[in-house]
């Protein structure tokens, strides 16, 4: 019964995502808003891969998000004017960064792990802030744009066509979601769940826990850097705030808000976060109050996240 319901959810999510450009205009949105939701959903889902399915809180995924964004921007600006080259370079930079940092922090747990991940994010933030020659410092990296795609005879003008760009981002989202779903169904993913549920028992069963957490961290960071790449493409711009701790905090909030034990929860959290922020900030200068109030009320009334709450409603 439960399996069937998960299936239904997945079909509904994909039906909505694939048709987004056709209906979003009718409910007062615009295509770029939908693109933002999908981009940030990739980041929130990557954080949730670690948080919800491995039980490890990274409060510094902005580090890899930012590395992806700067990697892509710098590649297009200085090395090769191609969106695919930027994407590969950005994801590679973020993943390699996470491999090295992961080695240093994999023994830490809980609050200490969260804090050290923040620390590395902040180090990148201040480096990008101060290294003005390369990154443009506080003004951000400008003077580049995403490039139209051309794969053999097929070409897609993602630069000027917002809808085409949305589908490009959605393809990246699909690849990330499929990758994560497959990994979670594999023996590796099941082992991660075992570590989440009871790390000590997993260790006694002979599972190399640190190694698994390292791999989960690197995989999750790779998807976060993919999100960073498409975020940079979305804005045709990167600035140091992509690295800052409140950016990481936003990802965690999206995951918790949507429901961190569920696969699609972070997507819903990202949608709520982005749409609320966009709508409220266009209505009033004091948009932070209703958004903050929403977080507070969510903790009081939806303790399992929005999706977790809906699931429980349905069960009773």
């Amino acid at each position: 019964m439960k399996k069937f319901q998960d299936w239904q959810g997945t079909i509904i999510v994909w039906a909505l995502l694939l048709t987004m450009p056709f209906w979003i205009g009718h409910i007062g949105g615009y295509t770029t808003l939908g693109t933002r939701v999908v981009v940030l959903a990739v980041a929130a889902m990557s954080v949730n891969f670690l948080l919800g399915f491995t039980g490890v809180l990274s409060f510094g995924h902005a580090a890899y998000f930012g590395l992806g964004a700067y990697g892509a921007g710098l590649t297009i600006k200085y090395l090769a004017a191609s969106s695919m080259a930027g994407l590969v370079a950005g994801v590679l930079l973020g993943t390699v960064g996470a491999m090295l940092i992961g080695l240093m922090i994999v023994r830490l747990r809980g609050v200490y792990f969260a804090m050290v991940t923040i620390a590395f994010g902040q180090i990148f933030y201040f480096v990008s802030f101060r290294w003005v020659n390369l990154t443009g410092g506080d003004d951000g990296l400008t003077g580049w744009t995403r490039m139209p795609l051309s794969l053999g005879p097929l070409s897609l003008d993602i630069l000027h066509d917002e809808t085409a760009f949305y589908y490009f981002v959605l393809a990246c989202f699909g690849a990330a979601a499929a990758g994560m779903a497959l990994l979670l169904r594999s023996p590796f993913g099941r082992t991660l769940l075992a570590i989440r549920e009871n790390e000590r028992r997993a260790r006694f069963l002979g599972i190399p826990v640190d190694q698994h957490i390292w791999m989960s961290f690197v995989i999750s960071a790779a998807f976060a850097s993919l999100a960073g790449v498409v975020y940079a493409y979305l804005n045709n711009f990167v600035d140091p705030r992509a690295f800052r701790w409140d950016q990481s905090g936003d990802f965690v909030i999206m995951a918790v808000l949507g429901g961190m034990r569920s696969f699609w929860g972070p997507l819903i959290g990202a949608a709520i976060f982005v749409v609320l922020q966009d709508k409220l900030s266009s209505l009033t200068d004091y948009w932070m109050t209703p958004l903050g109030l929403f977080f507070v009320l969510a903790v009081v009334f939806f303790p399992r996240g929005v999706l977790g709450m809906l699931k429980r409603r349905r069960a009773t």
Partner: protein, 289 residues
């Protein structure tokens, strides 16, 4: 050159004292109630603005004492209504709620006192340098360090010798036992939260005298304060104090030799310390996972 170093050393000490004051409050709340309070910077700003409104009426000195008390009263009210719902739950929810509270604080301060930064008047005899040679040694800087020292000394006296303080320390170790022994844990947590917020408010008033006021005054202080807690080691208040002063001084000295790394150095230091000592300098092994 030695003057430059001395200047930055003193500056680092002052900044470190702010971090320590804020971090001690965060630590108190985290240790007893397991809540990570991201709204702490908002309470700091609240204390500062209370002083800004009070000082023209009551004068500088009374505002210095009363304004943090006002912040603490608001703090206890917020704790009673909202924060208490976080007790015993995953610390992640404290992230979500206190992030939300921080947003609300920032807007509220902007709404009441305006988004522009405003100056905060300090007594003129505190503002002048003590001597010509040491031009940077204004009375206010010395005064700030003295106030922080008194506040921290007072905190440790309260924790060491009063019934409230002993109960807070006992509750940090084993709250269930303290509750079974007949202590009203709800009141204890509220008072403890108020105490933490009082320290934040005091830091706010002091910071206002040096930097002026803006709704975002607490924003630059909150992350370094967490760093101070982690460097000192979770669960250890003396560790938090040492951590705060240490990162302040290290970043002050770094600004002399490699000014680009002034802000980044504390995070590098924290990462290095945690790799060598996974529980910080004075943290207890295995507590507060």
């Amino acid at each position: 050159m030695s003057q430059v170093i001395l200047f930055n050393l003193l500056n680092g000490l002052i900044v470190g004292a702010f971090y320590a004051l804020m971090a001690l409050g965060l630590s108190l709340i985290l240790n007893l109630s397991g809540v990570i309070n991201f709204a702490h910077g908002g309470f700091l700003a609240l204390g500062a603005y209370f002083a800004y409104s009070l000082a023209p009426i009551t004068g500088f000195w009374i505002a210095l004492v009363i304004a943090p008390l006002g912040a603490a009263i608001i703090g206890v009210a917020v704790e009673r209504v909202l924060i208490r719902r976080l007790y015993g739950r995953d610390p992640l929810y404290s992230l979500l709620m206190t992030f939300g509270l921080a947003f609300i604080f920032q807007d509220g301060l902007k709404f009441i006192w305006g988004a522009q930064s405003v100056p905060y008047q300090i007594p003129s005899w505190l503002a002048s340098p003590l001597s010509m040679d040491l031009f940077f040694l204004t009375g206010y800087r010395i005064f700030m360090i003295a106030v922080v020292a008194i506040a921290v000394g007072g905190l440790f006296l309260i924790l060491g010798y009063t019934r409230l303080g002993i109960r807070i320390r006992a509750g940090t170790l084993d709250l269930d036992t303290v509750s079974v022994l007949g202590v009203n844990v709800r009141v204890l947590r509220s008072l403890n939260f108020g105490l933490g917020i009082y320290l934040a408010g005091l830091a706010g008033v002091l910071a206002a005298g040096m930097l002026g006021l803006a709704p975002t005054i607490g924003d630059q202080l909150i992350m370094p304060s967490f760093v101070a807690i982690i460097v000192g080691g979770l669960g250890s208040l003396p560790g938090t104090l040492v951590g705060g002063l240490l990162i302040g001084v290290v970043s002050g000295i770094t600004s002399v030799y490699f000014s680009e790394a002034t802000e980044a150095v504390i995070y590098v230091m924290m990462a290095l310390i945690l790799m060598v000592r996974p529980h910080g300098l004075f943290g207890d092994e295995g507590r507060l996972q």
